[in-house]
Subunit: 399 residues, 2 copies
């Protein structure tokens, strides 16, 4: 039996494909500190379950395909509190941010059409695009500039008559960059000039540090071309809830996307209820989470700074930092960490960054660290990494 | 701003597009009995919430992309109890049956490839296929034969070098037909002869009446070409949980689909937990639900039989019956029911069947009734329908 080219072309998740090595390490009795996946260790607020219990539905029925109106109202309030003027009628609740991205790509691009993406980018963009035969065309951000938005010339250079839009995440997964007003203007002006959509993935909106502030792409007023993708996964440590958002003020685009939303019926009802509980929580929750991530960020930064030859800037947002390491090949290095290295019988797992690029053989020395463990563990993990770089480079590598 | 052809070609849900007329009727003070959507009125078993409460997770984290192993084990046991030999490693838990169908189509067909479908069919197949640019090629089942599987010649007639598989639901939504061993053999032999995949949607497995028995397509042993699509939505009155299943014994196909599953991370965790509770329930639950639907089925059948000129067979499965009515245009008739007809200030909403066909202008006199209300309400609703047909046909129609 044959398979579709679409699925054959799809790569295995770059984050998940090294898991067998981690499992093997654990079998050998090693402790593995996981900094490879954006799964926070923080408890999900009880408000989630409390709301479900209070509203304990008799029938777990289909909801409106755009999501429960009470939930869309709660999201609308949340956005307005963040100076993003979405009404409930401009919001479609999705199966995580994942589905919001598929909806966005699907509504604006046909097979063979192109979407420009700032690389390195959230690796699953690739899978979503391949699923519906849309081509991602990369514009490269560099570790030497803290992964800043490339110049407009670089965007112009990859434009074609099949380009339909631009997608990026800000704050950035995997780099931890937070885009300035100037940088965002580059993107918005380019999109305006060539009449392109902007898919703005703002999942890490709350996590911007050192006095930087997240600016939503909505702030530029280009309402007809702007799509915001969002998710509660990281903000509330509720990755498994699968509640995301597709939002736009472009009414006709909204109606088109609703056709896709209707065919899959609705997002998960119980998690929708729980999310209302989360959104109704006091702001002090987000503040405490923010402080915790900031502490972790500084811990990782401090330890990373001790690695001679590592290229990176102090991360400003999300809970990631991408680093160019002085190693020959970061995927080989990450495997080696799992198979051949440990301190106090403990090793660390990070994500090789190559899988976050669309350009082949790029980011071969880079890794992504997700700071999703407490500061103490993070310091230890980063020290292991620092020591590992030294050992790996002293020729004591078993390949 | 322009939209993709893919989304422009997508039709609005044929079930949902008449909702504004129903809303208007309610505003005018009419009661509307909804037989238009497969949303059961039965309570979701408390076992769902009990299991969640008992296992009350601290973090709502990502699960395995194929679903929690405990859930896949519970599904495997359920399938084995139904003589369908799926192991946990052959099961991928999905966002409802919807996602399982998208995965199946996506893994076997590229843009422009063709999938044969027995029409009338579950209307959302169309949306899923359009989402990923796959072409549905219909073979028609007729109300006069109780919507039996067409002859092998009819399948042969639509075969092309781009045909990759066949999709159908059994028991059938929207017709209520249950396919015999002979009928299924037609499909399986055709698939074998031309090396096609079979996507067997068995969501209504438990609901077969009058001594008929559901035969899974897996019973024919064509393991490499058989994909089973399933869902807990109807069985447990849990449509909003969004828990479905993609299952196959074809290992390589499974691995290919896992790449799609990994990019969307995981199905909803809380609903996965609840589903374990549902699957662990005593069989007496399904038996009681079965009896209730059987009672309803007989009530609808009895009342429908009183409509002179209506063409249909006694439905044998699922909780639907499709009927050819002696009206000029069933969509017009359904609208008229909502805008111009009532008995005791009550009217009824059913689904025009045209939207369940891929062939244009087909099923123009047919409707689908979902028997998702109690017998008493159903009898009243069907009597309204019977009376409406008479009035509509006596020329007292306001168009």
């Amino acid at each position: 039996m044959e398979f579709s080219k679409r699925v054959l072309n799809m790569q295995a998740s770059p984050i998940r494909k090294l898991i067998p090595y981690a499992e093997q390490a654990k079998k050998m009795g090693k402790t593995v500190l996981h900094l490879n996946i954006g799964q926070p260790d923080l408890e999900t607020p009880k408000a989630f379950f409390d709301y479900i219990e209070k509203h304990n539905p008799e029938i777990i029925s289909y909801t409106h395909s755009a999501g429960l109106i009470e939930l869309r109202e709660a999201f609308s309030k949340y956005y307005k509190d963040n100076n993003i003027p979405f009404t409930p009628e401009e919001i479609i609740v999705t199966n995580g941010g994942s589905e919001a991205i598929i909806f966005a790509l699907g509504a604006i691009a046909d097979p063979g059409d192109e979407i420009i993406v700032i690389e390195p980018f959230y690796a699953n963009y690739k899978g979503f695009a391949e699923m519906i035969n849309v081509k991602l065309v990369p514009v490269r951000a560099l570790p030497e500039t803290g992964y800043a938005v490339p110049s407009i010339n670089e965007f112009e250079a990859v434009l074609s008559n099949r380009t339909k839009g631009i997608i990026f995440s800000n704050p950035s997964n995997p780099t931890g960059a937070v885009y300035s007003e100037e940088e965002l203007k580059t993107i918005v002006e380019f999109a305006k000039k060539h009449d392109l959509y902007i898919i703005s993935d703002e999942v890490y909106r709350e996590f911007t540090f050192d006095g930087t502030k997240h600016i939503s792409t909505m702030a530029f007023g280009e309402y007809n071309r702007t799509i915001v993708v969002d998710s509660i996964s990281k903000r509330y440590s509720a990755c498994g809830a699968r509640v995301g958002v597709f939002a736009t003020k472009n009414r006709e685009l909204y109606n088109q996307v609703m056709k896709m939303a209707q065919s899959r019926l609705c997002p998960p009802m119980i998690a929708q209820l729980g999310t209302i509980g989360l959104l109704e929580m006091d702001k002090s929750y987000i503040e405490s989470v923010y402080k915790e991530y900031d502490k972790r960020r500084l811990a990782v930064y401090e330890e990373l700074s001790k690695i001679e030859g590592a290229v990176f800037e102090k991360p400003k947002g999300a809970f990631y930092v991408s680093v160019k390491l002085p190693v020959d090949n970061s995927e080989k290095f990450v495997k080696w960490l799992l198979t051949d290295f440990s301190i106090e019988n403990t090793t660390v797992m990070v994500a090789p960054l190559n899988g976050f690029y669309a350009t082949p053989n790029t980011g071969m020395q880079e890794i992504r660290i997700a700071y999703v463990l407490n500061s103490e563990k993070l310091r230890f993990a980063t020290k292991i990494l620092a020591e590992a770089v030294k050992v790996y480079n002293n020729g004591r590598v078993i390949s």
